[in-house]
Symmetry: D2
């Protein structure tokens, strides 16, 4: 069983005409899994609904606690990209679990979004990788210790390579 | 480096108005990787452009030979779904390589297609799984020995489970 | 009130994996009108579900009869593009009605389809044009007497201009 | 010849990850016309790039002047929806021109947007309607004197009907 925790971020942003702005909405993950006829055993739980720049230490503690408490050993977390690496670094040392973080640089509601691809990519990573914490973005699996979002280039990079 | 071989199938089908029909076109994989800003080292090679029901023993021998000859140890194959499992079964016994087959039940050109999700899913599987041959469909990683396409249900199933 | 008659054609084609082929499905028009929050008074009636190359003289007589019988004076017909002009030419001489034919060169189920634009275009044409029969394609309003589908160029042209 | 003036609004909004926000971008109209293979003679001119709540009296005077100066008698204006009716009311009394305003409640960059349909609808309205000023939204042609955006309901309504 794969436990999917959602925390918000660009992947879940929707446009509200009534406000003329863009906000974090209900998670897009459930729709993506259903529309792609995903058959693996999984459960989707919304932990919070925030832009990742607004996540606090308490939020990160809550994510860690949710992973710790879950009976699942394979965990997928959707998360805003700006602080995804920061959150990943706080999740180290949980024994016996494969924890994969992903998100999107363009909202799932957009015609051209990386949401669907990234969720697919991260779902396989969560099933196939050994225990540990990983960032799965841009078709690559990163070690949070050396990963960084290059905001200007619009992609994640490995500081080492 | 991940070597991606394309063989055709539904994933690459396009609609030709001039023929009022649907045919296997140039591969959709390169576009999907570019549009999702995939950064992992990879190479896309078109081996053939066929509906999988038309694949012959010679075609399967050619696929096997291409894998064998490639300097890559991580191989992703896009393939029609009807005989994907059959092809996978002929690819056993190639030592030191992770071989993942995927495809789509709806063409990548359609609004609602599983192509993007499946390519993302299979790309992570090819990076993370140990040596062996796998079918990656419906968000699940199958052993070709027990996998089967349930055409009526429109999904892949594991005969054992 | 605008009466919309659907007859099939490329606009309504869907892909059936179980058949590995493309067929005329239920009409896409109702979905397009709902998704675009269309508020004008209208009614959608399916007359037939055929590729336009298969339409017979009886079919065309049935279309003419449906227009004649309808209490609406503004009529929109979705139709395959190959014989759209032929059908339009058989609909002349019905007094007091504005009759607009449209369709699509790419199925509405495709990511890149002219279906939505064309339905929008034809719906305004049906509301704004005086009595007569028109072909509304490629953002242009054609007189059926001089219109022709240029299959190679993938567009409708006016033989006169 | 149809002159298309763009002024900004929701229809042209794009998402900038680098800013985690949504802004008015380059106009979507040119892409929509090209992707739908529009063949009618037309010219697209960007007048301004603003949320319609930010349009000033000077902006409206500039729009009026551009229409007045144009050699075209058929004018299509893309505009934010919040003050579309207000602008339309300032454009009365220009003799010999058909002026149609349209826009979108969801950005053209979104998967589910009314942009393509509305541009198609307004383009036919601009070709087929007699001289005057019109608001073309929700598949309806409104008289600006009695039209109103019902923000809560997310659609335009006619105060009279």
């Amino acid at each position: 069983m794969i436990q999917i925790f959602t925390t918000g971020g660009t992947i879940d942003k929707v446009y509200f005409d009534a406000l003329s702005e863009y906000q974090v909405g209900p998670t897009a993950v459930a729709d993506i899994l259903r529309e792609n006829n995903v058959q693996c055993d999984h459960r989707v739980t919304q932990l919070m609904r925030k832009d990742s720049l607004e996540l606090t230490d308490e939020d990160r503690a809550a994510i860690r606690e949710a992973i710790h408490t879950s009976d699942a050993t394979r965990i997928l977390i959707t998360h805003g990209t700006d602080t995804m690496v920061d959150t990943a670094r706080t999740l180290g040392g949980i024994a016996g679990k494969t924890i994969v973080l992903t998100g999107a640089l363009q909202p799932a509601t957009l015609k051209h979004s990386d949401a669907e691809f990234n969720i697919g990519f991260a779902l396989a990573a969560a099933q196939a990788l050994p225990d540990g914490v990983y960032v799965a973005m841009n078709g690559q699996i990163f070690d949070p210790a050396t990963a960084r979002k290059d905001r200007k280039a619009g992609k994640f990079v490995d500081e080492v390579s």
